[in-house]
Symmetry: D2
Subunit: 343 residues, 4 copies
């Protein structure tokens, strides 16, 4: 059983985590993985479904912050303009964005007969990192069926972390990277809300990592420069305006910087934040709709939660990922081994 | 009595105007002018007060779109970040922004004892154009007292247009420019809303103006290149998220382009949009507040209203402004004269 | 033989066009079409290649302006961050973005063995409009082979306009839309530069179109609301900083607004501008490189060229497109017929 | 003599500092302070002059990144649009922005007879933090003469740090804040360049500060929430495009986050970056000008320098500032005392 950052005395910040310390502390949210390990290929898809209904008909309010835009993600322009998500979110490798796009279109067309007829089109949301250091990304192994498998595997509850799904071939700070998650509780007006983060961690130069206790783990023999990226998904059940969601997404960058990153040139560092409160109904027949939003003066609480959970989710991703040998013998040690956390 | 664009067959677009065809069709909104004409100085302040209460304690939701950022306006950064206005809006000349800033601070401190003590500071909103072609802008004639006079003159009802207030020394398309206004009615869910625009028009090269009927008025003997700017204030009583207000503000640029402008390099073309619905209470004690917002699918209606009213407000500004001789004998003819609209 | 806007007295603005009045007035730039007409499917790809070399190794400086972000285009985030284009540009239909992405990746991998190995990845640039009114877009008929066909068909010289390539199934202002082009000459420092525009025109509500002479062509019997988009590609040989390219791209919006558009909610209105001057060499071994840029005080000239050529390119697209009956009997008349331009 | 961070084993990051470890390692750059301590007033102006010539006639290329926009700074909109600075940079308190604006206008008019006549206007650059916790900011004590004094005091060489100039009344992380500086050397193509940072540090909640060695200094008895801000000025002699300068400015946020900040809601966190290479000549008579720029692939080096120098400049500001009692008995302890660094 892997130990998480918190178990090792590496909790980040001061706010309490949710029950699972995972993005799935936001009720109804589901995560699924499809991992592909075949010869020199170590890759996969990870799917995040904000709720269990038809996302095209009930669209979560959302925002995006491009921390550093060296990336090929699909769907962010429309998300920014309309403040809405209308498909599941797929995480994959850089050259699989086209496949992910096609898979989400296939599913959306199957479930919504009006798309392309009465309703216009659909905006698939696919985010990516480059796993080409460990995996033969030129093989372009992933198919629409792999994406469907990730979508169909999506479940509530604990989230499998580390070298799974889209995280299979990722690297971070010269160690093995992958998928990680964390959450924070936010108490307001006598109610308890959650903000959960899921990261696809594939960023950071070897030697730059700083732990919350000040230690600086450096992998042996790694001279590779940074070519990575990191995707930060933030989910919350707190009611928020889309402008507020963008402010919160931005704080993902603070979480990354606390780990020692400076959002390197070649890194696609993207944060997407969404709320499950007050979704937008595609088939609304009223022009004016009611919603709730946070009074701006209280927004430091979700800001802090976003920074802390992002930082901790990256550590959780790294700690759950074992030492790995990939294509052409490329190696990534495990942060857990460096810490002596694994027997 | 001056004739407005609509009286001369120059109505812009298809939506019906409000009762006054003015920004003051938004109930509670007030406009005041202070005009200074002294020798070579033709300048002034125009004040727009979104409602008749304390704006620092009840802040209208707002957004800004910088169409072309050659300008010195104060207050836009915080407006964009927080989506709020918390002082009256002052329009003036470029070199009077500091004076306007000071005047709004003076008033805000007088009315709010907590500013600078328990509450942080205040964000004055001052927008400007360069009236230096007709006026001796280097004289820096405007004082805080002039700003107070504009604020104190603010009234509901019809808005004086043309060479008044901040519009005293402005130019547009080689003609005399100034302050103008227009509005549109928006019917939704069986209710009637209004979107009103007030412009400070000081933009456009001589020869570029196109009227809605295709005519191209060219002033005699004007060879001056563009060095102007235009400020577009949009007010509405329609409930909107701040992201939606930004989308609407952007359509001010369409109204300007329909007049023949291409948002010239040296022009500070700024649109600020705000709604009087669901203001943010400074002293709110709930963390979560309810508001209404427009379903995004209906937003073409305020888009169209914004473009049409901007276009018509500029024509109204020009038509109300008489032929003027300013500093060093610089001249601007009147569009009304070109059209033969004035006896 | 179709007549172009200029032949019909509908020239836009004042600057002189280039020899071809086309984007190909920028030397070395090539355009290719692949048109698919099969039963209810009217669609295709159009390829624009900024120069005739390997674009990944010699990357044109570029910028993007999102006029309205209701769209699914791929590659814009990295283009904005780095100010570079590194693949050909593909235009297609909305649901074919994944296919276009894959096709550009296939070609880039074939031509550059270092991608995904030593060099990181590649950023495919695919832009789109929704041709679902006339074409069965749900059929998802386009393949990578269709994209290759458009790329391989790319030629210098005159550009075929109208219902070809990606323009096959497009609509504009209730008429048949499609691909159009125009250019302007820019004289500076005794040298002659060109700015060319190619549009994929699929935007504008029936009844909103305004011609340069003030006429308002309204198609018979069209009650369809706007669900369209428009892609504006601007190419120039003028040396420019990427910030300047973004300012120029923005002026595409002025050209669209002069036609009567207000950049409708459901319209993906995107302008990409690039220069063939001083491309960025992928394999550069100097840290500091020399380039030229326009002195900012002269930028009104390319601004004006961008607005005028965008406006005229849309008219050229519409005039070259014949009346069309598409899927389920949906009809679009031809603007040329409305004008009586065709016998 | 105060000790700087580096003297206390608190150097940030890995790159070597310049000879002065100060923003003045960029040759020709000058810094001046005017400090006002009168009763309950602790405030001042700090002036930064990028070079020793007329800044309006020779404008440094520049960019701005708004990390969090709760602030009232003047001049940023035009700086972002044109990529130029054309006046000295003034740092002051929030309510003195109008005074600073006026002072810069006064100087610019005196030195440039064409402003407001042939040339348009001038864009004063004034940045601010709220020193109202320690100082009676409502007194509005600063005058144009104070601004002139700061400008006239500007010198090359070592920079006075701590509670001086605009830093007189500032706070950070519950300690006394102020002005600080640091620099890094950047070796490229066999030449040595410098990137220097000067901060006005007035941000961070008590208890959030993290030192580079992992210690967390917490001031005794401080229960004040964050209402601060931080201004980060970055100067370099490295040739850069304005888009690149913006990317570098953004990395100031990483430096702040490494200190434990999350860019709080009420904090105006602004980074302005400029280069002294290839300034823009106001009176240029060529349309096309030559410049150098960094090949994008090398930009991680100035990114790292920006993050490291920002982090260290804040520590230098805090270490140089003594424990202070301000208005109404408000107290801020000194970080130097906490560290036992001062005898």
């Amino acid at each position: 059983m892997t130990q998480r950052a918190r178990d090792l005395g590496l909790a980040c910040g001061a706010l309490p985590p949710g029950p699972l310390n995972a993005i799935t502390d936001v009720l109804g949210l589901r995560v699924g993985h499809r991992t592909v390990r075949e010869g020199d290929v170590l890759t996969g898809f990870t799917a995040v479904l904000p709720h269990d209904g038809n996302l095209f008909r009930r669209k979560p309010r959302a925002a995006v912050k491009v921390i550093n835009g060296f990336g090929k993600s699909a769907g962010l322009m429309q998300l920014a303009e309309l403040g809405q998500i209308e498909t599941p979110i797929l995480l994959g490798n850089t050259l699989a964005v086209g496949v992910g796009f096609d898979a989400l279109v296939t599913r959306a067309l199957a479930e919504n007969a009006d798309i392309g007829r009465e309703t216009g089109t659909v905006n698939p949301l696919v985010l990516e990192c480059n796993d080409g250091f460990l995996s033969d990304i030129r093989a372009r192994r992933l198919t629409q069926e792999d994406a469907f498998a990730a979508l169909d595997a999506a479940r509530e509850g604990p989230v499998e972390e580390g070298a799974v799904g889209a995280g299979a071939g990722m690297s971070a700070f010269g160690f093995k990277g992958g998928v990680g998650t964390a959450s924070r509780e936010i108490a307001l007006d006598g109610r308890l809300f959650h903000l959960g983060v899921l990261v696809l961690a594939n960023f950071g130069r070897a030697g730059d990592l700083v732990l919350p206790d000040g230690r600086r783990p450096t992998p042996a023999g790694s001279g590779e420069g940074e070519r990575g990226s990191v995707i930060v998904l933030m989910a919350t059940d707190l009611p928020l305006e889309t402008r507020q969601l963008k402010r919160i997404a931005r704080r993902g960058g603070a979480g990354l910087a606390r780990l020692g990153a400076f959002w390197g040139h070649g890194s696609g560092d993207i944060a997407v934040a969404f709320t499950t409160a007050d979704p937008v109904h595609h088939d609304e027949n009223q022009a004016l709709v009611g919603l709730s939003a946070l009074h701006e003066s209280r927004i430091d609480l979700p800001f802090q939660a976003a920074a802390e959970a992002t930082q901790e989710a990256v550590l959780n991703a790294m700690l759950a990922a074992p030492a790995t040998i990939g294509r052409d013998g490329h190696r990534r040690p495990s942060l857990a081994d460096w810490l002596g956390a694994r027997p």
